[in-house]
Homo-oligomer: 348 residues x 2
Amino acid sequence: MLTVPLCSSLCSRLFFCSCPSSRSLPKVVKRRVNALKNLQVKCAHIEAKFYEEVHELERKYAALYQPLFDKRSDIVKAAYEPTDEECEWKADEEEELTDEMKEKAKLEEEKKDEEKEDPKGIPEFWLTVFKNVDLLSDMLQEHDEPILKHLQDIKVKFSDPGQPMSFTLEFHFEPNDFFTNTVLTKTYKMRSEPDESDPFSFDGPEIMSCTGCTIDWTKGKNVTLKTIKKKQKHKGRGTVRTVTKTVPNDSFFNFFTPPEVPENGELDEDSEAVLAADFEIGHFIRERIVPRAVLYFTGEAIEDDDDDYDEEGEEADDEEGEEEADEENDADYDPKKDAAPPAECKQQ
Amino acid sequence: MLTVPLCSSLCSRLFFCSCPSSRSLPKVVKRRVNALKNLQVKCAHIEAKFYEEVHELERKYAALYQPLFDKRSDIVKAAYEPTDEECEWKADEEEELTDEMKEKAKLEEEKKDEEKEDPKGIPEFWLTVFKNVDLLSDMLQEHDEPILKHLQDIKVKFSDPGQPMSFTLEFHFEPNDFFTNTVLTKTYKMRSEPDESDPFSFDGPEIMSCTGCTIDWTKGKNVTLKTIKKKQKHKGRGTVRTVTKTVPNDSFFNFFTPPEVPENGELDEDSEAVLAADFEIGHFIRERIVPRAVLYFTGEAIEDDDDDYDEEGEEADDEEGEEEADEENDADYDPKKDAAPPAECKQQ
């Protein structure tokens, strides 16, 4: 077989690689494979339409979720006090606690109640969500925390029908000492069509670019800047002086000033990495955080991810019997294959 | 803070764990969190309806793809010879080859043409797909290959509207010496509703069970069975005799006899692992293999998966400047955090 760059660089098990390079196929077959590839391009365009319809569905369902999210927001910010009926929740693990533990828990609870007399709504709800999600807590600096205590809601707004596909994350803040905005926004533009030059890479809508917003910081409160003192040595005289410079500072709030994608679409490697991470975060906030914030607040959403891991791990172990086998149906029986039976056949 | 089983066992970074156990919250706040959890259950039920509508959309689009898949099948099994226009494909990487390589490729091609004079359709199309996909090649035994050469198409059939959600994989074979069936089937039953006892784990339709079909093997051709010789020692006399036994044999065709889920839904650990792997395979065939078989035949679909990996890897490296920083805005500045700036803020 000829060495083919595409195939040889990609198959993880080169020895058994059976990717038929188009050149290793008879001409008449290669022709037919090209016909299948043209059919595949048509499939990609149908798939793009499918995802557009899914986006419409998402818009439709966003309107159905909204009253529930609004109620959540009202409870968090103490605009609404839920009724006893709304607060009923099936007995949790407390039942299994010993009397001693119950007593301890009760004391703890009373202490908390004393500490924060009459807390309003659910204090630090969104800040706690941010802290519990690795993807977000990685962006969080200590100086961001007092600001995020004022975050009252995150909303997702979809683009209108007929408009280019996009969504906006709205971060709603209560009045605070840090900036005068009440809403900070981040908009993600998407594309749901196969790239002409590479139609097979299409796999649903992609985020193409994002834009932030201007934060109107109160004087001296801008955590995205810091002043540094830098020593400068005079070339001739050798004397040293100290200059003060304002430079960017790590902060979650840099999320609202992402690197711009230039007209030609070309980005340096670093900006590309920043944007890749940014798109991932935007997508995650839209898909997971906003729809199930309370589960990230309590930690219950984190549990699910762990469960998934365990299940996958279980498939790894297999044991073999000690029977002497005599293959009847297959002359080319390969004992190595038997040593690691595929999970599928293990129990047959 | 009280030690809470749920939270403490799940948060990866215990020291910074800020999951507020329901017991560590003031009673009035805990009440409100319960109200949010009740809203979240309502969200899960709306989400279930969303996925039902997505399933309807999938059914609708399956009908749009089908003519393209039928044409693919006709080309593969030589029922249709595509026209020159249908076989036109933009110049591929051959342009970049040296003359020497081109000559070699040409010779190779001619040799192939001689070897298989007038090949029909695209020989071993589906067998090659199986070999190129790790998840499937892991199930494949050498004795399965001559059989899978006769596989001509895999179709996905969705359940009718109003029926319980399910899909059937149909494996269409040309007449062969191994079994008399022309179609082997595997049906996956799905569920798109939150589990009453654990509504928060709902994350879209799940495969709940699967059923295979009976394969009518020609005498002596059943690769899912093998005979073994076993030595038995007589307890009293100590004499040894050899007995012949028929036992299960590893084979892809065990895919059509998955372990049954008993009425009570309880499974032993091994059967559970086999079914978990089976569901993953069924899902993968439906979602990836059938919609883009030609890309797994040529190896182009494998490229995409690799690309994904590289992108994730890129985010890991970061460098720090050597400036002396003087924090202005934050008294509690933590130098450890600065040592590993979040990817998001790196370039700001």
